[in-house]
Point group: C2
Amino acid sequence: MAKDALPSAEGLERLVAALRVLPGVGPKSAQRMAYHLLQRDRAGADQLAMSLQHALRTVRHCAKCNNFTEDEICALCNSSRRDGSMLCVVETPADLAMVEQTLSFSGMYFVLMGRLSPLDGVGPRDIGLDRLLARATEGEVQEVILATNFTNEGEATAHYIAEMLRSRGVRVSRIARGVPLGGELEYVDAGTLSQALTERRAL
Amino acid sequence: MAKDALPSAEGLERLVAALRVLPGVGPKSAQRMAYHLLQRDRAGADQLAMSLQHALRTVRHCAKCNNFTEDEICALCNSSRRDGSMLCVVETPADLAMVEQTLSFSGMYFVLMGRLSPLDGVGPRDIGLDRLLARATEGEVQEVILATNFTNEGEATAHYIAEMLRSRGVRVSRIARGVPLGGELEYVDAGTLSQALTERRAL
């Protein structure tokens, strides 16, 4: 049978190709998603299309913290209850939400929306470090807390920002590494345990 | 910090919720997808929205085989090179494509677009068995080959269809089970090997 004998639906093929823009979605998943939407959830597919267009129209970045918002300045940055002397730097809005969930930080944020990754072509400007520098040195900020991930790229990003800010006389700190709460030494990886030993605290 | 102090972007939240219609996408993945689209690939997101709407507008089911198509009757069903006396029943368009790839079947298809699954509320009508029955008994079809999956649901579906068609005097067959090509007995699961023994062929 020639390939051209296969039933073709050009709209279906275009949808499968378009679904590949989603992170972590390969050809098989994209096909499965397209079948599911067209066969079982056309209302959901329509809703998804409208939500995409709505978000593209309305969602932008906060001029102060760089987080997603629909306003010029986001609600958190506008809040009078936050302490403007502390600036916590995180990689993503999800990280910001995690820090907020701890209820133990009342300062402001700067969201990098990524991390330094030279191999992927992500440099200092791509994660807004020029804007972070301006923000950290404009006067109100007393301390910048680096809360990037403890991955290689997150660590390199923290190191780069620390160097950049310290050379301008800004006080910089890094959130603590160590054995997690409830962690059993037997099941903690050697790297974490080694760090926990090196960065032990006097009691 | 009160929850309401969190920066909110309603359009972002709506997009995250809408992405949950995709099969296999939970809250974390949906959030990651939304961030990725809004931060790194707005052109791709726009393309996805348009492809969804285009597919919803143009893609429908072939009146003969039930596969996705943009026409009343799909190209395969319209082809004069196919043998109308053989009807192969598959669960999905992907399964149809796999059978086509073997180049060893030149008959027609019926795509169930699913399988019987009482627990999920999928009954005979939901997978078009009324239309399959009409198709199989309209005269031209000599044999119906059941090529549903060898899963519990696929087997139950094949069993149900076989009963339905046999009672109307239609010849029904099932694709063979057994040790796969290149399969080593040592690594084949016991169920498959047991089936291969039971369904052994005289040489």
